[in-house]
Symmetry: C3
Subunit: 139 residues, 3 copies
């Protein structure tokens, strides 16, 4: 079976890996809460805690774009089936670099953010192309 025919399976796998990574950023906030003694519901009190929290929030803020874009691209941009899940892998790599950069130093969050954002934009673009192509084909 060709790789392209596996596109939905690959996207399902990429989605779960993205969710597990995001789950990890959530757990890390819990850990930082203990380490820097920030009792809930406070979300401020120590720079490293605040950065860890921002990493989780920012991952959340982009995850909600990523997952629907990935699936619309996977569903409608079927010509190059591996492209959507491949962009999904790039997104995950970018988000990991963003996390590592930001927690080390807020000024180091740019590279990972850029990589993930470009993958996100590319997914939205191929999703739109796929929708237009599907529309034309059915018109």
């Amino acid at each position: 079976m060709e790789l392209a025919a596996h596109a939905p399976l690959l996207s399902a796998l990429v989605t779960i890996i993205a969710l597990i990574f995001y789950f990890y950023t959530v757990i890390r906030v819990g850990g930082a809460r203990g380490q820097y003694k920030i009792a809930a519901p406070a979300i401020t009190g120590h720079p490293v805690f605040e950065r860890t929290y921002r990493v989780q929030m920012n991952t959340l803020e982009h995850l909600v774009i990523f997952v629907p874009s990935l699936w619309i691209a996977t569903t409608y941009f079927a010509r190059v089936g591996w492209l959507a899940p491949a962009l999904g892998v790039i997104w995950i790599v970018g988000r990991i670099l963003y996390m590592q950069g930001y927690i080390a130093d807020p000024n180091k969050r740019g590279t990972g953010f850029l990589i993930a954002s470009l993958a996100e934009l590319a997914l939205m673009i191929i999703a739109v192309i796929g929708i237009v192509m599907a529309w034309s084909a059915s018109a």
Copy 2:
């Protein structure tokens, strides 16, 4: 081909437009961060920055209801196929009005919020009706 038969394509398009709008609210926070000199990870410091941030957060908070409701309604409420994506368009219009109102003045956020919330509720209601109808049909 009838418009109703295009329902999933229309909902895919509405989803991508909603994601692009949400992406725009994210970018606007970045812009306000620069304009009002609020260095990350701070999320307070200037009223307009705080409102811009709240617009993004509130859009996020409702986007996670909107996308699954839209798709469950699109999948199961198939009798009037254009209704779910049409409610999706209303949701987007409401969210744009909410953004413009809130950034101008927190007291002006009501109208857009109401429009978007009613569209959201209507999507949840037709989703439930669609599920019940599909259940009855298969029982």
Copy 3:
């Protein structure tokens, strides 16, 4: 018709119930804003308001893991079709207990959080198992 064959319908219903519950946590923040006189865009000012806000945020933070995991598990872990929606019901129960516990006392948020997190993890695990099984079957 067997219950397992209804799995997508059950998961659709569970999703809508989870969204309605989350919508309720959003409304509760609005109510607490009025009750404790916290004018938007502030998100601090009274402990009970802050807890109510954290409940909504935490529900949001986990909803974005829950919905995609539920659907990937429902789609690919088809052997025991009722398992994914059943875990979804447990997740909702856990989130309700978490809300009630947290608003009463931040130290009482643990039990509900644990129940929901275990259901979430179980959904991610059966999703991965389902993907691997589908991959093996198609290879």
